[in-house]
């Protein structure tokens, strides 16, 4: 069956993806946390949306495919909801995770010590002093 040639459309979406990609790489370089979150992570969602809709054609598929994907994602959210209170948090009602707390405080102390000693940050640039 001969279909229409959508090549131009796909290339346009690709260009948009590239621009978004460049923004998402540049954003974290600025160093402000909310900018990083919006550019690196927020844009990831936008890119994902573009790929799912325009490349995977989910909006042309039967509705239940979208619901199926959404359900899979929801189950991941459910998994998160049930597990994060135990694994992400290190204390709760009548319990503490001493091992994890110790690990966090020790490592953070090491990192602070290294920074205070005027060390290089990861990209080899000297820390601003």
């Amino acid at each position: 069956m001969a279909g229409h040639d959508h090549q131009q459309h796909y290339i346009k979406i690709y260009v948009v993806l590239l621009v978004l990609f460049l923004i998402s790489v540049a954003g974290p370089e600025i160093g402000i946390q909310w900018v990083t979150l919006v550019t690196a992570f927020g844009i990831a969602f936008v890119k994902a949306y573009l790929v799912i809709v325009h490349f995977m054609h989910i909006n042309v598929e039967k509705k239940y495919i979208t619901y199926l994907m959404a359900t899979s994602l929801l189950f991941m959210g459910l998994f998160w909801a049930g597990v994060a209170p135990d694994v992400m948090r290190h204390e709760g009602q009548n319990w503490t995770n001493d091992g994890a707390k110790k690990e966090v405080s020790q490592r953070m102390a090491e990192i602070e010590a290294r920074k205070a000693a005027g060390g290089h940050d990861a990209h080899g640039k000297k820390a601003a002093h």
Binding site: H4, F41, M56, L68, M69, V87, M88, A100, M108
Partner: protein, 189 residues
């Protein structure tokens, strides 16, 4: 000889495409489980931010660019297949495979660098997750590329053109996982 069952389509969707979507649904929970576990640790352990600063971000970025481009190649292959051009579809599929090889090449180089600098699988929890998540993803890249070669071979002969779309959907999913892996693993908050 294919069973008559394969010619039926009560839902109106070709069974092959239906099957790929179900496969993706199950893959979402596999990667989801792993990435949710990683994210819980990442948030609960702020020191991961320091560890992550030792990843080679620019190589991760190059790989993101490579996968995005290979996704374009995959959808252009689908475009050709829709128009009945098996040879054109095969060409674009092989370009996608080329992208996969480039991705794996950059990753090998990147990991070589990190390993020789002493950042290995068991260096600490961050690196364990890093190698495990990227490793499972790379496995999916390899498997996808192999299947793509077979589909391309058939497509070039004008056979089973519908499979170009199916392997494409799988490939876009692999790209999607990386779209999220990149900020999760490489960006040091």
């Amino acid at each position: 000889m294919k069973p008559i069952a394969t010619t039926r389509s009560i839902t109106g969707m070709p069974t092959g495409r239906l099957a790929v979507w179900w496969l993706i649904a199950s893959e979402i929970v596999i990667f989801g489980g792993l990435l949710a576990s990683y994210l819980m640790h990442r948030i609960g352990h702020p020191e991961f931010g320091d560890y992550a600063s030792h990843t080679t971000t620019w190589m991760g970025a190059v790989n993101t660019f490579i996968l995005l481009t290979s996704s374009l190649m995959a959808v252009l292959a689908h475009n050709k297949a829709e128009m009945g051009d098996g040879k054109g579809a095969a060409k674009f599929l092989m370009l996608t495979v080329l992208g996969a090889l480039a991705f794996l090449g950059v990753k090998s180089f990147e990991w070589y660098g990190e390993i020789t600098h002493g950042y290995v699988l068991y260096t600490n929890m961050f690196w364990s997750f890093y190698y495990t998540a990227a490793g499972i993803h790379a496995l999916h890249v390899i498997i996808g590329a192999i299947i793509m070669v077979f589909v391309a071979k058939d497509a070039a002969a004008g056979k089973e053109l519908q499979r170009v779309e199916y392997i494409g959907i799988y490939w876009h999913f692999v790209d999607l996982v990386w779209i999220f892996l990149f900020p999760l693993l490489y960006i040091a908050k």
